[in-house]
């Protein structure tokens, strides 16, 4: 089982977490967002082969939402951090 690095709790089993997909910055709807841009935000995923940034939630743990950089082929985590940090 994959070990996921929680920034609060350290390395824990993946079964404690909810995976919430690739990180996609949200365009602010008050600005002019075209239909295409909005549809891309909603439905398009980069499907990266390599390191990408993704959301995790520590469901059976501290309740933290955090970002992690993980290699999609090897599953190796590069780092994990709170939103707004890098």
């Amino acid at each position: 089982m994959l070990v996921v690095p929680c920034p609060n709790c350290g390395p824990r089993n993946a079964s404690e977490f909810r995976y919430a997909g690739e990180y996609r910055p949200r365009p602010h709807p008050s600005q002019d967002v075209t239909d295409d841009e909005w549809a891309t935000y909603l439905y398009t995923r980069s499907n990266t082969l390599g390191v990408h940034t993704e959301w995790w939630f520590h469901t059976s743990g501290c309740g933290l939402w955090f970002l992690a950089e993980r290699h999609t082929k090897t599953n190796a985590f590069v780092k994990s951090y709170l939103w707004g940090a890098t």
């Binding site: 089982m1 994959l2 070990v3 909810r18 919430a20 949200r26 365009p27 602010h28 709807p29 008050s30 967002v33 239909d35 909005w38 935000y41 909603l42 959301w55 939630f57 469901t59 309740g63 933290l64 939402w65 599953n75 709170l82 939103w83 707004g84």
Partner: protein, 964 residues
């Protein structure tokens, strides 16, 4: 009376049976004696039993073959347990053992006439023979299953007690033979916490049964293990490697989930059979099986043995047989050299020795009666007429296959070593190490040394010690490269005789040849088409021979042929062990026991157990409409937001407006995601300036909490704090025309319509307990929702029931509530909406405030509002008033050609006891749904039923009752 154990030998050094005691068990209905320590197979062998089972396809008699728990030949039924490896299972008093796959008896099997089977069951027969006509396939399949069954599953077997245990170590060592023990000791010495797994009953590996070492080596190693920091797990099969060094292992009824930072695979070797005519006859055993019988259980494999070998192990075995007084018919060695130390004694004892010769066939009907051998040329092909040796046992020791399956599941890549005719792994993934005979080491000293180095490397990987100097590694590599070859790759070309490659699935070399000729010439296709390596042994006995055969037929190297993918479990495992305990945790409210005492029929709703009704849901509906009812709504999600940032957050989470909500007021709210899909709904109250209290659906509470947290923790969390109050508060809804009178008896607060109107929240003492009381109305009646600290839940509930006695109060359940809300036309998120439902279509356009600068779903709802929703959620009534269409049914539109187009679906439907007619909610195309009274057609059980669109509540459309 004849001797019941004719092949039990006098006491052997190192044997593990207790000859001072005797137990008895039955096999095939007859009683057999055994000693404690015996396996079923060893006890049967001591009694001279040769046939253990019938084969899968041809029902040929099969006897003990590998003696190591790999092959399918000795599978038996023990009581209600099928597929027990009799060579591994210890005998117990009164054990009821039966053969499998034999009818009417082991001795006279009708299906073996399926020597007939030959013609009717060619390779790929599943795909060829039984395909047409296809409607008969279920019958074919049933007949085939019966003919080819592996044991009988007793459906009445009680649920077993299975559990699991988590293990944590620095270094895990798989295999407790000399190399595994050395690796464990070395890693422990460096300071690592070591987990050591072995599938045998004791540590020691081959030292337990092979006589190439003196017993002191084993005792010495075991003593060291006991004093070191090593957790030892014997009788434990490691099933697979998973991500991040996570091992699944099984001991009896327990599943271990073990995590280690480094792993040493000291998994040993598996002795493999070879191909010759009739190579499946009972009486043909692998050399290691014979040595186990001799040295662990004091049993002779037969009376007259031919040893066939291509390495030193066969000579060791011959020496053991000689020492045990078993007659040796011959030693047949493919090699031309004769340098084994025992050869002098064996020759002196008059044992015929044939060098440069190989076994080409066996003869016999129910068991071996003779071995056919022949001299071979340098390519391994037989020359000359051959020679027939009378015997009752053939001991085969011609090849070993490193047990690398686990390492393959860990990502190790296989490389075939032509010079040794064995697989190896290169490269071995980081943090994983392979040691001992699995790594090609054969002599005891080399195994110990190889294990020691692997243990050191594992400890160095954890930075507990320095890696061994390169010099030492080079020296070991050189030593290993000088190891004598132990495996023969001689394989004869298929010539029509019966030579079994795969014992599990009865696949012969001719079948492999045919499959390749039919075009299934890549190993993965060959496997699937011929079913080779897909049986209980999972390729342990057959895969290397299949590869050699395949490469010989195709004229390519074994490396080019490749191998099939190894997957866990590498050893058979009970499904019960994987399933674990039958645990389905549920959440219950603070008054759960009260519901049970009142005979409530409970239902599962999300994680919760809730009363569905207390006997008569219709009476409960009527009681709420006419008098007063009380429902436990504790599973509602309840969240508190505190801080001046709360309104900002709410404005973004909900489609509604919040900033203008005044203190003490309540508003219905809907949450969407950015696709504009409805996620949840509920009420939200401003308790005071900076405190907001909101509820969500019962089933969506967990998801809603995570959802709000997500936005809170990614930029929208300024000056606001979220608290989950779901379990802190119990919640009861008091509903019905008499609810005010009931509540008035328990509180001093003015409940008049002016002081406490509809859609307000008040902090109120109820029966002496400080509660939050909402005046809201899902049921459409005057009602109060009382949120009480859970610790006082039962007290307040009982006080309400007592106070309501004079007004005819009765509890009501989820079913009555569903009817009551449907009469009001209220939707339930998740019941009446799905992952496609937007609030504009779901009749909630009034709540959508597109003028807000931002909220989740805004951009998508703007887009949808341009053309309007395609589908609308509306009420309906049936033309035939008593017909209640099932929820989920399709709404159809008959076409001119008579076909039906699906245009919508029924999301809720009930018979309304209040209105005495069938009502419901459904999704319809906007043009039909927008027109009250428009008719449409529901498809139910092959009939078409007519229904009419209805807008607004079915009951009390003006809402006078809830505002009364």
């Amino acid at each position: 009376m004849s001797d019941p154990t004719p092949t039990r030998l006098p006491e052997r050094p190192g044997e593990i049976i207790d000859r001072t005691r005797q137990v008895s068990f039955t096999f095939n209905g007859e009683i057999y004696p055994a000693h404690p320590g015996d396996t079923i197979a060893s006890a049967l062998s001591a009694a001279g039993v040769r046939t253990f089972s019938r084969s899968f396809k041809y029902h040929r008699p099969r006897g003990l073959l590998c003696g190591a728990g790999h092959c399918p030949n000795c599978l038996v039924q023990v009581g209600d347990e099928p597929n027990v490896r009799s060579c591994q299972r210890a005998v117990e008093q009164d054990m009821d053992v039966n053969p499998q796959n034999a009818w009417p008896s082991l001795d006279q099997d009708v299906m073996s006439l399926a020597g007939l089977g030959d013609r009717f069951m060619p390779v790929g027969f599943y795909y060829k023979t039984f395909m047409k006509p296809s409607q008969l396939w279920p019958h074919y399949e049933q007949a085939l299953r019966n003919a080819a069954g592996l044991g009988v599953v007793d459906q009445g077997t009680p649920w077993g007690a299975y559990d699991k245990q988590y293990l944590h170590g620095d270094v895990a060592v798989i295999g407790g033979g000399p190399s595994g023990i050395s690796a464990a000791l070395e890693a422990a010495e460096a300071g690592a916490n070591v987990l050591l797994f072995d599938n045998g009953p004791q540590l020691g590996g081959h030292l337990r049964w092979r006589s190439d070492s003196d017993d002191t080596s084993r005792k010495d190693l075991l003593e060291k293990v006991q004093s070191a920091r090593i957790e030892v797990y014997t009788d434990t099969d490691v099933l697979g490697w998973y991500q991040d060094n996570w091992l699944a292992a099984v001991r009896g009824d327990r599943l271990f989930k073990a995590r280690a930072k480094a792993i040493v695979f000291a998994t040993g070797t598996i002795e493999v059979p070879t191909l010759f005519d009739n190579n499946d006859l009972p009486g043909i055993l692998l050399g290691s099986a014979v040595q186990r019988l001799l040295n662990l259980y004091g049993v002779a494999p037969g009376r007259r043995v031919v040893v066939v070998t291509a390495n030193r192990h066969g000579w060791d075995l011959a020496a053991d047989l000689l020492a045990a007084g078993v007659e040796l018919a011959a030693i047949v060695d493919e090699r031309r050299t004769r340098d084994h130390p025992a050869s002098v004694d064996l020759a002196a004892a008059g044992v015929p020795i044939y060098n440069g010769s190989a076994l080409t066939g066996a003869r016999g009907r129910k068991a071996v009666s003779a071995a056919v051998i022949s001299e071979i040329d340098d390519s391994g092909n037989p020359i000359g007429p051959g020679r027939v040796l009378s015997c009752d046992t053939i001991a085969l020791s011609t090849g070993w296959e490193p047990a690398l399956d686990l390492l393959y599941t860990a990502g190790g890549k296989s490389v075939y070593q032509e010079n040794r005719a064995e697989m190896s792994v290169d490269p071995v993934p980081d943090g994983l190490y392979v040691a001992g005979s699995a790594n090609g080491a054969d002599l005891l000293q080399a195994r110990v040394e190889d294990g020691r180095v692997a243990g050191r490397l594992a400890a160095a990987h954890l930075e507990l010690t320095e890696p061994p100097p390169q010099q030492e590694l080079d020296k070991l590599a050189l030593e290993l490269s000088k190891e004598e070859r132990r495996t023969s790759d001689r394989i004869s070309a298929p010539d029509g005789k019966k030579r079994f490659v795969c014992f599990c699935e009865d696949v012969t070399d001719v079948d492999v040849d045919t499959a390749i000729a039919e075009g299934y010439d890549s190993v993965e296709l060959l496997k699937r088409y011929s079913t080779i390596s897909m049986g209980p042994c999972q390729g342990k006995m057959c895969s290397v021979n299949a590869l050699r055969l395949c490469s010989r037929i195709k004229g390519q190297s074994v490396q080019e042929t490749g191998r099939t993918t190894s997957r866990p479990p590498t050893t058979p495992v009970y499904l019960g062990v994987l399933a674990g305990q039958n645990m389905e945790p549920v959440q219950v409210s603070s008054i759960h026991d009260w519901h049970l005492d009142r005979g409530a029929s409970m239902m599962v709703a999300g994680l919760w157990l809730r009363p569905e009704h207390y006997g008569d849901a219709t009476a409960e509906v009527n009681n709420v409409r006419n008098r007063v009812g009380l429902i436990d709504v504790s599973p509602l999600g309840k969240f508190q937001l505190t801080g001046p940032g709360a309104p900002d957050l709410l404005e973004r989470l909900y489609i509604n407006q919040w900033r203008n909500l005044r203190k003490g007021r309540v508003r219905y709210g809907v949450m969407c995601n950015d696709e504009g899909v409805v996620l949840d709904d509920g009420v939200c109250a401003r308790v005071d300036d900076d405190t907001w209290y909101l509820s969500t659906t019962s089933t969506g509470a967990g998801t809603a909490f995570q959802w709000i947290q997500w936005w809170l923790q990614s930029g929208w969390g300024g000056n606001v704090h979220l608290t989950d109050m779901t379990e802190i508060y119990s919640a009861f809804n008091l509903a019905g025309p008499h609810s005010r009178e009931v509540l008035r008896k328990l509180t001093k607060r003015d409940l008049g319509n002016k002081a406490f109107p509809y859609m307000r929240i008040r902090r109120t003492r109820v029966a002496g307990v400080s509660c939050r009381v909402w005046r809201i109305g899902f049921t459409g009646e005057l009602s109060y929702e009382i949120h009480v600290p859970s610790s006082a839940g039962l007290h307040v509930w009982e006080a309400l029931m007592e106070a309501g006695g004079e007004f005819g109060i009765a509890p009501f359940g989820v079913e009555a509530q569903r009817v009551l809300r449907l009469e009001k036309g209220h939707l339930i998120v998740g019941q009446d909406t799905d992952a496609m439902s937007d609030p504009l279509g779901a009749d909630m356009a009034w709540a959508v405030k597109l003028e807000k600068p931002d909220f989740l779903g805004k951009r998508s709802l703007e887009r949808i509002s341009v053309d309007g929703p395609h589908q609308r959620l509306v009420g309906f009534e049936m033309t035939r008033k008593h017909i209640v269409p099932e929820e989920g049914l399709q709404i159809v539109k008959p076409q001119e050609n008579g076909k039906l187009n699906i245009i919508g679906w029924i999301s809720s439907s009930r018979f309304s006891p209040t209105l005495k007619k069938s009502i419901g909610l459904c999704w319809l195309p906007s043009d039909i749904g927008s027109e009250p009274g428009a008719t449409f057609t529901i498809y139910q059980d092959g009939r078409l039923e007519e229904a009419r669109v209805h807008h607004g509540p079915f009951f009390d459309p003006g809402g006078e009752r809830l505002k009364s």
